[in-house]
């Protein structure tokens, strides 16, 4: 993982004007200095089958960022598609679970965590950068299932993108500090429309 904690993409470096190690404020976002190397294209999935990945994908679309949404991406698919020419370079995992239709029609969060941990392990091996994002706010931090998804994924990230309104208890700040993971806070989901081009050097 250390190897991947490079000093950001060229464009970001330009923005920071050579002081990459220090945090910078760009367009209202506080960007930490220890950003991992972020290269397109992106594949996005959720840990809990919420609509977060879809939202992320829609935003990428509107911002012209190449991204693929795979709600139930398996390790096999991931590995096989990461070996081609158009291989994914960033794996985004959106945390928080969907519970519409509790019970038989609902989501088994444990199997979702298992699937995503396997994806993370594969990503490590393949050198794919892992972003763990909580972008839907308090709606995806209400119950035990959300918590399981968040607590399993957050410590595994190379970069955290977090809605500031779910950090009331300081959990995300604490984990980021403990694990030395760079973290960027957003106020609203739509902020990603401005943030992602900055991160991927598209401005």
């Amino acid at each position: 993982m250390k190897a991947k904690l490079g000093f950001g993409l060229l464009a970001v470096a330009c923005v920071f004007m050579g002081t990459a190690a220090a945090q910078q404020t760009v367009d209202g976002f506080v960007i930490p200095g220890n950003l991992p190397l972020l290269k397109l294209p992106i594949v996005v999935t959720t840990c809990g089958q919420g609509p977060g990945a879809l939202m992320f994908d829609v935003i990428c679309d509107t911002a012209g960022i190449p991204c693929e949404e795979r709600e139930l991406l398996t390790v096999e698919e991931f590995v096989s598609e990461c070996t081609g020419d158009t291989a994914w370079n960033v794996l985004v995992i959106i945390t928080g679970t969907s519970l519409k239709g509790m019970g038989a029609a609902g989501v088994d969060v444990d199997s979702e965590v298992k699937r995503c941990l396997a994806l993370i392990a594969a990503a490590r091996e393949l050198g794919v950068t892992i972003i763990v994002a909580q972008i839907e706010g308090p709606s995806r931090r209400t119950d035990e299932s959300d918590e399981k998804s968040i607590r399993a994924m957050t410590p595994e990230a190379d970069l955290l993108i977090t809605r500031s309104d779910v950090n009331n208890d300081g959990y995300f700040t604490r984990i980021a500090e403990e694990k030395g993971i760079p973290q960027i806070f957003i106020e609203k989901t739509l902020d990603l429309q401005r943030l992602l081009p900055i991160l991927f050097g598209m401005n």
Binding site: I59, K100, G137
Partner: protein, 388 residues
């Protein structure tokens, strides 16, 4: 002597019971026969009824009014369903408000105020709902029926031992055979609610509906609240509507309609017609099981100490404080949600634009009150007044 004493008591008991029955009977009849007055707004071009699309419903309890607001300009067609569950009054109020205010510049808007009219003519046994609720307007008090979640047993009797959903075969609770949001896509020879859904599906075909919005309210203990639930065909519209509403007006989430949960509008309409369906939920503390005194006040203010206490214990999926969840905030949320979905429909379907104007947004409804947007039926011409 003993016989006399016995009959004295029995006689008194009969008189008391008789009085209770007469007074209760009057109360039930008042509720069942009360008609809400709707003043047709400038946008309404035609008023039909569900029976026009499925003849067996004609003249029956669920021959709901269908308000058509046609711009005459080509574009998309949106169907808005109010009061699928009449115990969720912000939904019928929003639909009512649309009918009295909306104008359509491009495309066509179809609004149903009471989607399951039968369910709006009955109070729920054991739950102590009020029969009516009242909204203050500039010209006086406007009165509305408070209904139930299920169609009136007087119109749909008996229930099966267990309700087998058509066509999936999924089992649901027996009374849900009268629940309009469990009987989609319906069947022509089924229960009243199933036939009503069937009629709506014919309406969707006949009018070329492109998108359906089913309005609802939910208890704060329930996970699906303050959100838009979307069929797979409408995910992008829902995602954008949810994100922009949250950024611009109020927090609202999004859920994907689960494939394995049957009978609901957001699942079946999308699966069985060309129109995707979205379902919008607002918070209604009145529906919470832990609620305190059950009355019109709770219905309209959404203020409840017990629900707040449950919130302090982290048992709610949606926040609540002393200001409660007043009806104006709930109606306002639905108004903005409908408008935003229409906007994104247009954005994603440039060839079929749907432009709706003159509808207040969230901030307008909260600032002025819902009643501000209702017209006075007394001053409107008789031809402009329709009874719901």
């Amino acid at each position: 002597m003993r016989l006399n004493k016995e009959w004295t008591i029995k006689g008194i008991a009969m008189a008391v019971t008789g009085t209770i029955l007469v007074l209760a009977g009057i109360a039930f009849a008042q509720h069942r026969n009360f008609k809400e007055e709707v003043v047709l707004g400038p946008g309404v071009t035609t008023v039909r009824t569900l029976g026009d699309y499925f003849a067996p419903l004609k003249g029956g309890p669920n021959d709901a009014n269908v308000f058509i607001l046609d711009s005459g300009e080509p574009g998309g067609t949106m169907l808005v369903l109010g009061a699928s569950h009449p115990e969720e009054p912000a939904t019928s109020l929003t639909a009512h408000l649309l009918v009295e205010n909306a104008t359509v510049e491009q495309g066509k808007l179809i609004v149903v105020i009471h989607s399951n009219p039968s369910a709006s003519t009955v109070t729920r046994p054991g739950d102590a709902y009020p029969r009516f609720f009242h909204i203050e307007t500039d010209w006086g008090i406007k009165k509305f029926r408070m209904g139930d979640r299920w169609a009136n047993p007087l119109d749909s009797w008996p229930d099966p031992e267990t309700y087998v959903h058509f066509p999936s075969g999924q089992l649901l609770a027996y009374m849900d055979v009268r629940n309009l949001n469990r009987t989609w896509p319906g069947r022509s020879n089924g229960s009243l609610a199933e036939q009503t859904c069937y009629a709506f599906m014919r309406l969707i075909e006949a009018e070329g509906v492109d998108i359906v919005i089913d309005l609802h309210e939910a208890e704060l203990e329930y996970p699906i609240i303050g959100t838009i639930v979307a069929h797979q065909k409408a995910l992008r519209i829902a995602a954008m509507a949810s994100m922009t509403l949250t950024a611009e007006e109020f927090r609202i989430g999004m859920e994907i309609s689960p494939l394995a949960l049957h009978g609901l509008s957001h699942r079946e309409i999308g699966d069985h017609s060309n129109a995707p369906a979205l379902l919008a939920e607002t918070p209604q503390p009145f529906l919470d099981r832990v609620r305190g005194i059950t009355d019109e006040s709770l219905l309209l203010t959404g203020k409840d100490e017990f629900v707040m206490k449950a919130g302090e214990f982290g048992l709610l999926y949606w926040p609540i404080d002393e200001s409660g969840w007043p009806i104006d905030a709930r109606v306002g949320r639905h108004c903005s949600t409908v408008l935003k979905i229409a906007e994104f429909w247009t954005l994603f379907n440039r060839s079929k634009p749907l432009v709706v104007t003159s509808v207040p947004r969230y901030a307008d409804v909260v600032a002025n009150g819902t009643g501000y947007f209702f017209q006075d039926p007394a001053t409107a011409s008789a031809s402009k007044v329709v009874y719901e």
